[in-house]
């Protein structure tokens, strides 16, 4: 075992020099938008990983920090791939969604990671602990940073509180293209959330966990009240659970904010039709058809079904 470790370090040290990677990132505190010099989620749960299973362990830590308790053993069935002895990035995001969290991929830069940590959001990262041409991919959760000592704090493998030098971490992280995501409860917006990206993350949640998505659409609309996709999503989820009153309210708001959206008029028409408001339904369907666009055939069918009765 000792010999192995010695061989590994010799090989790694000698070959690291020859290995090309992304340029090192900027870990400075931006002058215009400063955040605390240090932050740490000391309460982020720790799950020592079993063999090959850093994916489930990292996920359980991130979800637990978001108030969603999942055991790594249960997550194995959702992310682990036996033949690869590991987990793939898209499935990590998907499993977070299956647990009812919004999985939000971060911009691949140190600033995004630090901002989320400053907001108390642990970040799941993909690292390559070896070399570009002989990778050892590893998921860990960054739970804190200290810019004064240039260190990061991670839940990683069997280490409950791994303190890593920022530059060493950045080298391992850069090799994955600085891939990272946060898994947050529906009522919590990521610190670095961008409008289109956040709404798109919620949309991916809608099919898997509609109740959670409904909350997250509300969160999005709290910050971006005029977002059409989020407003329509809210209406669609309400409709899906049989609440036609809430659905009608959402679609009414959608056409008020976006009278140019045929989709909004179409869905409003359908809801009004089902709620027995024939006249208003017909007018809405006609607005949709008049708007046209790629889904005109759908609008026509809606109008026909309303006018036909």
């Amino acid at each position: 075992m000792k010999l192995r470790a010695a061989c590994l370090s010799v090989a790694a040290a000698l070959l690291l020099a020859a290995c090309a990677s992304l340029p090192s990132g900027d870990w400075g505190n931006p002058p215009g938008d400063p955040f605390p010099a240090w932050a740490e989620r000391t309460d982020a749960p720790f799950h020592p990983q079993e063999e090959y299973q850093c994916g489930p362990a990292a996920l359980a830590t991130a979800l637990g920090s978001a108030g969603i308790r999942r055991a790594p053993e249960d997550l194995v069935n959702e992310v682990y791939i036996p033949a690869r002895q590991g987990s793939l990035q898209p499935e990590m995001l998907a499993a977070a969604r299956r647990s009812g969290a919004v999985a939000y991929p971060l911009a691949p830069e140190p600033l995004a990671l630090l901002k989320e940590l400053a907001a108390g959001h642990p970040v799941v990262v993909l690292q390559n602990l070896l070399l570009d041409w002989m990778p050892q991919w590893h998921y860990a959760v960054v739970v804190g940073y200290d810019l004064r000592s240039r260190e990061l704090v991670l839940r990683s493998g069997r280490e409950q509180r791994l303190v890593m030098d920022i530059d060493a971490f950045d080298r391992s992280w850069a090799k994955s293209g600085r891939w990272a995501f946060v898994a947050l409860p529906p009522d919590r917006l990521p610190a670095t959330a961008a409008e289109a990206e956040y709404v798109s993350a919620v949309m991916a949640l809608e099919r898997v966990a509609p109740a959670a998505a409904e909350g997250a659409y509300r969160t999005a609309l709290g910050t971006w009240p005029h977002n059409l996709v989020a407003r329509m999503g809210l209406g669609n989820v309400a409709y899906g659970r049989g609440d036609s009153e809430a659905a009608e309210a959402a679609f009414r708001r959608a056409v008020a904010d976006h009278p140019e959206s045929g989709d909004a008029w179409n869905n409003l028409a359908q809801i009004l039709h089902e709620r027995g408001q024939a006249q208003a339904a017909r007018q809405a369907a006609e607005r949709a058809v008049a708007t046209g666009g790629p889904r005109l055939p759908t609008y026509r069918r809606t109008l026909e079904s309303i006018a036909g009765r």
Binding site: R4, C7, L8, V10, A11, L15, Q49, E51, Y52, Q53, C54, G55, N77, E78, I81, P82, A83, R84, Q85, G86, S87, L88, Q89, P90, E91, M92, L93, A94, A95, R97, R98, L126, N128, L130, M134, P135, Q136, W137, H138, Y139, S176, M203, R207, V208, L228, V229, M232, G233, N236, G240, S261, D263, N267, Q270, E274, P294, R295, T298, T302, S305
Partner: protein
């Protein structure tokens, strides 16, 4: 003509299957992903392609040791872009895990070579 219809039959079946797989809002509500996308006339073709990609990903997961029911659930939790990415390059995508036996052997071999060379 006959040849054509023979070719079209599986596509028709596929289209039928796609129809069943579409998460149905019962009526003709425009779904949220459709609101977000600006895809147009080719929507049906895109649906067929999505269906094929889903099948591909499920098959690959099963081939890599994930059992059938779990594989289906896992594919269902992926969004369109993720399914597309997996269908394209599931084998070359990094799998975060631990170091594998094969990698250990390689590392030790290289280390020995390096030591010998010195």
């Amino acid at each position: 003509m006959k040849k054509n219809s023979a070719r079209l039959a599986p596509i028709a079946l596929l289209a039928l299957a796609v129809g069943f797989h579409t998460p149905a809002l019962h009526a003709e509500l425009v779904t949220t992903p459709d609101v977000a996308s600006h895809e147009s006339a080719d929507a049906d073709r895109a649906k067929v392609q999505r269906f094929l990609e889903q099948a591909t990903v499920k098959e690959r997961l099963q081939a890599m040791g994930v059992d059938g029911i779990a594989a289906a659930d896992r594919v269902a939790a992926l969004d369109q872009q993720e399914i597309h990415a997996l269908a394209q390059r599931i084998d070359s995508m990094p799998a975060g895990g631990n170091i594998t036996t094969m990698e250990w052997i390689l590392i030790v071999l290289i280390a020995i070579l390096v030591v010998v060379a010195l």
